[in-house]
Structure formats: structure tokens, C-alpha cells
Symmetry: C2
Subunit: 232 residues, 2 copies
DNA sequence: CGATCAGTTGAATCGGATCAAAACCTGTGG
DNA sequence: CCACAGGTTTTGATCCGATTCAACTGATCG
């Protein structure tokens, strides 16, 4: 059965631009896997057995200090690539934040395929370079921004990525009106803050009329300009 | 004239493993460039005209917030690759911390070469993946570690990298005995701290007998175990 | 031998963390 | 439909680590 043919991220993931026969080959070595919210795809330090493409949903990538403090390294949205090709151990944990579908490959199968099909390897290189850029921009946030600026940056990023990716069940994915795919605790882990600080900052933004919050997770950005200035 | 033949990083940089004829081609499109301490190779946001290999010396990669706060993204040691292939603008500033020699290529020349020689592209991919791993580990430091832990991590990293790279004029590069290639202010920028905090922590470590400091920049690690525990 | 710049030390301040408690969903069973 | 139990989130009070501001020390150099 050919998953790729009907794949929703077919044109955006690293498999884009492959020839039909290459897709067929790739289809043979990959398989679909469904993850429940909270389920993990890989653990930091484990043997890097699999790599994967996100088809739908959102995952968090995280690492931790020896005494258990967690730091989220980033989020993976549909069409993003997961795992560590050409390495032996996984550099992070990857955990589904909501119901998520991924397309997994044994790392060794994938590597062999990549070495034989340089177009795929090139795509992977471009994606890795972009990811490095994104990660470095995040370092500025963690190293130099205060709590308010961090929240502003995250809200803008989630808005942008939700739209770009069609975040799973995303009837309501709008750049200014979206659902947070994570809890307050997870927001805190992403931003290197505590849950209380996140809560206080969100409340402050609500009081200032910058955002609206319905329920726990539905957010509307009312004053995009203010957020952008904060996050700059 | 063939620089590559005598190149000191020939076996560690991305050009390693190329065939002799490939090296000859690469040699044609590259040229050596010497940078004084403080001189910049590229600026964030500028057109990405060049990419480069570090031959000797150390550079810092940095970015800044719109209001001028700086964050150093990482250090580049001999054999490291600089620049943003397959992208239009440079994602960071790269500035030499001491006298530095790089091997520069026009980005477009380099890209053409890489697309034709998949072995080079593969090396670049592996290097980019490693750099992404390193960058992500740094996020844990910026997001979750206190001042003491950050300094410990940096000292260990500089020791390791100085040895691995032979940091420029490095008669004295030992994993436990090395010269800081940067000022206190630059250390602060790397670690997301202030210069005063860096100074206080170094003094504290000296008083605790964990390190020795001679002059301003010569450091000896006396109790490696303690540092490793702090940085873990 | 001042002048200058990098680094250190001290005191006061502040932002975010921590600890504790109240408020709020959300799902369940009567 | 309501009550209530479980968790999550918000709010409040306090504390602490790092920053800030300021003064001082110590190298380096004309």
C-alpha cells in the first residue's frame, strides 16, 4: 500500500521533488505510525534507530540536565523531519503533544537511501541548515530576552507555524487566532521560564488588550504590532 | 598555487576524503584570507556572498536583538565551516577573536561544486547535523543553567575544543591548561550573563581551588571532576 | 608617570523563582 | 442536571540570583 501517494505533506517534506520511482522505493522502507498525546517517539541518548517525517500533529523536542530540569529544544510540525541520520544516538526526546501521525524509517535504511539519492540528501541538508538557523534565533531568546519578550516571540511563532503546517485538526488555524498545542508547563519549558511566570505574563497581555484567551488554549492576537515590537 | 596541499585542516575539514582532482578544483575556486582580531568576515542580514573554512584562529558567531543586546551563538575553531550555503542572507555575524586564517569561497561557486560532488555535500550535511546537536545542547545551558554551571560548561568546552583544533598559536593547548580566546565581555555574551557575574564566578572558582588563573586569560583546570559535575 | 582600558569588588535593586493557596476547568457518576 | 474529584491554572507573598550602577584595582603603553 502506497502511503506517499495520498500524503498530505508530500510536497513540503524532504521527499518533495523525488521522482515517482524514488517515491515508490521510499514508500517501501517507511511506514506510518500514530502517536497519542504524551507518547514518545524517541529518547535522548538512546540508539538512534528511527528517523521520521511529521505528517500531522505536533511534537516537542526536549533535553534535560542530569538533575531533571527540562528544556524544550523546539517543536516539530507537519513536514518537519525528526531524528539523527548519520549519528548513533538520539540527541533529544521527541514526544507528541497531541494526536500525531509520523512516517518512520529505520535510520540505516534511510541513510542508505539518502546516500544513493543525492536529491534527497540535498533536501535534508537544506532542511538541517534552516533548522540550525531557527535554533540559533531561539538562542537569542533564551540568552537575552525577558519573560514578556519570550512569550511574544512564542505566540508569533506558533501562529505562523500553525498556519504554515496545518496543525493537525486545524479548522481554526489562523495566524492571529489559533489553539496552543501545549500546556502552560510546556510553554514554560520551551521558554526557559516557570509556569507561574508564563501565567502572569499571559494575564498581563490579556489585561493590556494585546491578546484574548478563551478557555485555556484558544488565543487571539489583537495587537500584532505590539507583539512584534516586543519580540524583535 | 595550491593551498590545499599544505593545509593544516585538510584532513578534518569538509574537504577531507575528496579525490585529488576534486581538491584541485576546489583549490581553484577558494582563496586564503587573513583576519585581524576584531575583523568581521560576515554580518547578520547581509547577502550571503561567501562561505569559508577556518584554517587557524577562533571566530565568534553572534546575533543581536533590535535594541543591540548581543548573543554569541557559538565559536568557530580550525576545520569548522562558516556561512550559509543555499540561503540568501547570512544568519549571523562572524568576527575573528584573534588573528585568524580562513579559506573562503564565493557561495555560488561552492554550491555549484557541492551539487556536483555529493561526497562534499555529504560531509557538509554531517557537519551541519553535528553543529545542530551542539547548538541544541547550548540551549539547555542558556535556558536552564545558573551562572556557575554555565561557566563550568564553557571552560570544559574551550579546553576540549582548543585541543581538538589546535587553536591558532597553540603551543599551550592542553585540555586542562589553555588560553581563553576572548575577553570577559565576550564570555558574558556567550553565556548570556553580564561581565560582573562572569568575573565573580571566576573569582569564586579560583578561591574554591577549582581553577587557576594567570594573567587575564591563562586558565588551568585543577578539579575537572567538579566542573564536570556542575556542567552536567 | 599619568592615561586608558579591562577586570574586579561592593551595595542596591529587580525580575523571575519558589512556596503556598485559591480559582478554574473538565470529566465522572449519582 | 448537579456535585464533586482530579488536575491545571491563576493569584499572592516572599526570596534569591543576577543585574545594575558605581567605585576601585591593575595591567599596558605612549
Amino acid at each position: 500500500m502506497n502511503f506517499c501517494q495520498a500524503c498530505t505533506v508530500r510536497n513540503r517534506a524532504i521527499c518533495a521533488d523525488l521522482e515517482t520511482y524514488e517515491i515508490a522505493l521510499l514508500n517501501k522502507i517507511g511506514r506510518r505510525r500514530r502517536l497519542e498525546a504524551g507518547e514518545s517517539l524517541m529518547w535522548e541518548g538512546d540508539d538512534a534507530v528511527y528517523v521520521a517525517n511529521v505528517v500531522s500533529g505536533v511534537l516537542k523536542l526536549s533535553t534535560q540536565t542530569s538533575d531533571g530540569r527540562e528544556q524544550i529544544l523546539g517543536l516539530a510540525y507537519p513536514s518537519d523531519f525528526l531524528g539523527r541520520p548519520f549519528g548513533n544516538t538520539s540527541p533529544y526526546n521527541a514526544e507528541a503533544l497531541c494526536e500525531t501521525v509520523v512516517c518512520v524509517f529505520r535510520r540505516t535504511d534511510f541513510e542508505r537511501f539518502a546516500l544513493d539519492h543525492s536529491r534527497l540528501e540535498h533536501k535534508l541538508l537544506e532542511r538541517t541548515l534552516s533548522e540550525l538557523d531557527r535554533t540559533r534565533r531561539w538562542m537569542l531568546l533564551l540568552g537575552r530576552m525577558n519573560a514578556e519578550e519570550r512569550l511574544a516571540a512564542l505566540l508569533l511563532e506558533i501562529g505562523a507555524r500553525s498556519v504554515a503546517a496545518g496543525c493537525g485538526n486545524s479548522a481554526d488555524a489562523d495566524i492571529d487566532r489559533f489553539e496552543l498545542p501545549m500546556s502552560r508547563q510546556q510553554i514554560a519549558d520551551i521558554l526557559g521560564l516557570t509556569i507561574e511566570t508564563v501565567s502572569r505574563q499571559l494575564t498581563k497581555m490579556r489585561e493590556d488588550g494585546i491578546i484574548e484567551i478563551r478557555g485555556r488554549r484558544k488565543v487571539t492576537i489583537c495587537k500584532r504590532g505590539v507583539l512584534e515590537k516586543l519580540a524583535a
